[in-house]
């Protein structure tokens, strides 16, 4: 892991679990089980680092992000931000926490209020937190934020619908930056954008990280973008982290059979490379998180599974320095 040994991580997630009750019936509704959206997840993020959290729909990556933002109260586990337990923060502590931690959402269409002008959208957090009571100086700050995000300061008077998707996402980023945060959760922040615009926003995120010393949790399903943007990557499957390593190590030497299958499923934009690749998508589909398979949750789809995989839940082990794998069959 990067960062000095004596430097404490900015974010520490310990045994995080988030179970949602599932009920049946409308009138006499009764609980029939739990969706284990997140089921025992551990990781840390160092200052200035970008950790990628990847996986397919329903793997729990977004719920993990929402727990960190305290938009959900986890069923179990702890989230430590700068050493402080987010779950035990009082109102004052939480207000300070919400200044230091921000989020960028996927959809620049639904995450901006369509009735507000761009300038007001960006000024709102500054107002709410009482950072800059002077209206003139607040306006100047908004214009500065727009230009930091590559937008013309004249855009303050526009409405979101007058802008393209890429421009709207820049507004979302400007709003996230308004309070000088230290940590930003990017939840599929570039997924809704067209290819030609996606690269612009990826570069912007990278520039901002360097310029303001930001730390990111980058939640995404697009592995190519994650490879480009993240120093470390954690792969989730059905609520658990199955593999975690430095970016290039994970993409060049994936050890967990699920990670291998995932990487093999992504077509590369080069017909010559594609012509030489063996392409065997994993069989079957992701099982229901209400009644996940016993033992290793990947065993029904795993080409390497042995009898023991049905019984024993594999723990995340450090097989090489900094490379963690939850599979009993990988050594």
């Amino acid at each position: 892991m990067s960062g000095g040994a004596n430097q404490a991580p900015l974010l520490e997630v310990r045994r995080l679990a988030m179970h949602f009750p599932v009920s049946e019936g409308i009138v006499l509704s009764r609980k029939i089980g739990d969706v284990k959206a997140v089921d025992g997840v551990d990781f840390t993020i160092n200052r200035g680092e970008t950790l990628g959290l990847v996986g397919e729909s329903g793997c729990g990556k977004t719920t993990t992000g929402r727990c960190i933002l305290r938009l959900e109260r986890p069923t179990a586990g702890q989230i430590l931000f700068d050493g402080e337990d987010v779950g035990r923060m009082d109102r004052k502590g939480l207000t300070a926490f919400r200044r230091r931690v921000q989020v960028i959402f996927q959809d620049p269409y639904s995450s901006l209020n369509p009735r507000m002008k761009v300038g007001d959208i960006i000024a709102e957090p500054i107002k709410v937190h009482g950072v800059e009571p002077d209206a003139k100086r607040r306006q100047a700050r908004v214009r500065e934020l727009l230009s930091i995000c590559g937008l013309d300061p004249k855009f303050t008077d526009r409405y979101p619908h007058e802008m393209s998707g890429g421009q709207r996402q820049r507004v979302g980023i400007a709003r996230a930056l308004a309070l000088d945060p230290e940590f930003i959760v990017c939840d599929e922040a570039v997924s809704a954008l067209d290819v030609s615009i996606q690269a612009q926003v990826v570069n912007l995120l990278e520039d901002l990280r360097e310029r303001f010393g930001l730390t990111y949790l980058f939640i995404a399903h697009d592995l190519s973008v994650v490879r480009h943007l993240c120093q470390r990557v954690a792969v989730m499957y059905l609520g658990r982290i199955v593999e975690m390593a430095d970016g290039d190590e994970l993409f060049d030497n994936p050890l967990h059979p699920y990670t291998q299958a995932l990487l093999a499923s992504v077509p590369v934009p080069d017909p010559r490379v594609e012509a030489t690749r063996a392409f065997r998508p994993p069989r079957g589909e992701v099982p229901s998180p209400i009644n996940p398979p016993s033992g290793c949750v990947f065993h029904p789809r795993c080409p390497m599974a042995v009898d023991g995989c049905k019984r024993e839940r594999p723990v995340l082990r450090e097989l090489r320095p900094g490379h963690w794998v939850a599979c009993s069959e990988v050594h």
Partner: protein
């Protein structure tokens, strides 16, 4: 033998509050029998509208096909009556759309959706249709097909629904399937399963396939020939290998440079396409890409270049400077 599909000078317009949008602005291409071609482009490039136009599924108003020919198996689909067109859709040309939940009927069982097509188009009786439906579900890799036939779309996963869509599309042995972003809504491992399924079935059954997508990886893996669309026009067309390794249009070049690749280590920075996508209500007579183009010259504002031969045989680009740029690359 003439090509299976020949689109000539197709124009499709939409009247919107903001003005007239030429969503498809004079495109021409062919599809040979049994061949897979890709139409690649970003939002608003006209790739989906061009496909819906072939099937005459453009809502009118606000949309309208204003010019062009769509020769399918020798017949111009634009001259057919609506009743004749209905016989073509689903029988000769199958369709697979992005979101299988909205293209399947939620109140009909999976079995009924397939048997309906067979009864309508082939006059099959119930028993024959049901036997064939079971066969089709097995062919598209649905386990426990007998039970699935009695289920409703909401009881199936997204990947399985898309398999059902493929079964419906193949039910009447079509000559052509049009797949519009068939895997965009699916997870990557399921996307891979569905694409492999479509590839092997179209090969085995000798069905031609038009894949419409924004995903350059999917195109590289599955298509032999590629049309690149921008602002309603085909700006580059050719064999996949030529398009990816010897692109002749600045938009294609920029697009390929801008995508991060899973098979390459972290680069310092991506090289994005500059600027914003075009506003289709404000196009002038010049090249629509010129405001984002690094090679634009005065001439690009005066006229809109049409497709012209570039590079090897069968390779076309709509750029005044395409041969000049290629020569420059060789020199560099």
């Amino acid at each position: 033998m003439p090509p299976l599909l020949e689109v000539k000078g197709l124009h499709t317009e939409f009247r919107t509050g903001a003005g007239l949008v030429r969503a498809v602005d004079g495109i021409s291409y062919t599809v040979e029998r049994g061949e897979t071609i890709a139409i690649v482009g970003e939002s608003g490039s006209g790739k989906s509208v061009s496909a819906l136009s072939i099937l005459r599924l453009i809502p009118d108003p606000p949309g309208r096909i204003t010019a062009g020919e769509i020769l399918f198996d020798g017949r111009d689909l634009r001259t057919l009556s609506e009743a004749e067109m209905r016989r073509i859709r689903g029988r000769d040309i199958g369709m697979v759309f992005q979101e299988p939940m909205t293209s399947l009927n939620p109140v009909l069982t999976i079995g009924r959706q397939i048997t309906e097509v067979l009864e309508q188009h082939q006059g099959a009786d119930r028993a024959t249709a049901e036997r064939r439906a079971l066969e089709l579900l097995e062919m598209v890799g649905i386990a426990d097909a007998g039970r699935r036939l009695k289920q409703y779309p909401h009881q199936l996963s997204g990947g399985m629904r898309q398999r059902v869509m493929i079964a419906v599309a193949l039910a009447c042995n079509p000559k052509l399937i049009i797949a519009d972003e068939p895997t965009t809504a699916l997870d990557v491992t399921i996307q891979a399963q569905i694409l492999e399924l479509m590839k092997s079935l179209t090969r085995r059954l000798d069905v031609a396939l038009i894949v419409i997508t924004h995903n350059l990886g999917v195109v590289a893996r599955y298509a032999r020939r590629v049309n690149v669309m921008y602002a309603g026009r085909i700006v580059e067309a050719g064999d996949a290998d030529a398009i990816y390794h010897d692109p002749r249009h600045p938009y294609t070049m920029a697009l390929l440079r801008s995508v991060p690749r899973l098979d390459q280590p972290r680069r310092a920075r991506l090289d994005p396409v500059d600027g914003q996508p075009p506003d289709l209500t404000r196009l002038d007579g010049g090249c629509a890409f010129r405001s984002r183009c690094r090679f634009a010259v005065d001439r690009c504002g005066q006229a809109n270049p049409s497709l012209a031969p570039a590079g090897e045989a069968g390779h076309f680009a709509a750029c005044f400077r395409s041969n000049e740029l290629a020569a420059r690359d060789v020199a560099a």
